[in-house]
Symmetry: C2
Subunit: 76 residues, 2 copies
């Protein structure tokens, strides 16, 4: 699994937990609807600022998402 694929899975999980649609998350985080879709499908590599923007909207610490991503990648 690539880093971006793992990030996509984690993003999708937390977004679903928050009850937000892709479009709602996109609007609140100031990103594009289709870009959230691309991220969740592991087709894009977010910048550090994008990671922070998304994490804040999801009420999570960026480091928590990254930690979970590390664990997910290690688990392979």
């Amino acid at each position: 699994m690539t880093i971006e694929e793992g990030f996509g899975l984690i993003l999708k999980k937390y977004r679903n937990q928050s009850g937000l649609s892709q479009e709602a998350l996109a609007f609140k985080s100031g990103l594009d609807r289709t870009y959230i879709s691309l991220l969740e499908r592991g087709k894009r590599k977010p910048t550090i600022n994008t990671i922070f923007s998304i994490a804040i909207i999801l009420n999570e610490r960026p480091s928590k998402l990254i930690k979970e991503l590390e664990d997910l990648l290690d688990a392979v």
Copy 2:
């Protein structure tokens, strides 16, 4: 302080701790020497893959760098 400025400070700190020059870090992480310089001066926003690449070379967990960045930004 912006996210990228904070990341630059942390990168510089850990790079100096590791005893690597910008050029040595660049070589080992497969990035450009001038780009490491740009990052440390807060002029660029690294992607998630770049963050992981650099952290690995510095023998640190990406989440640790991000955690420290959060704390640095909160401290303002």
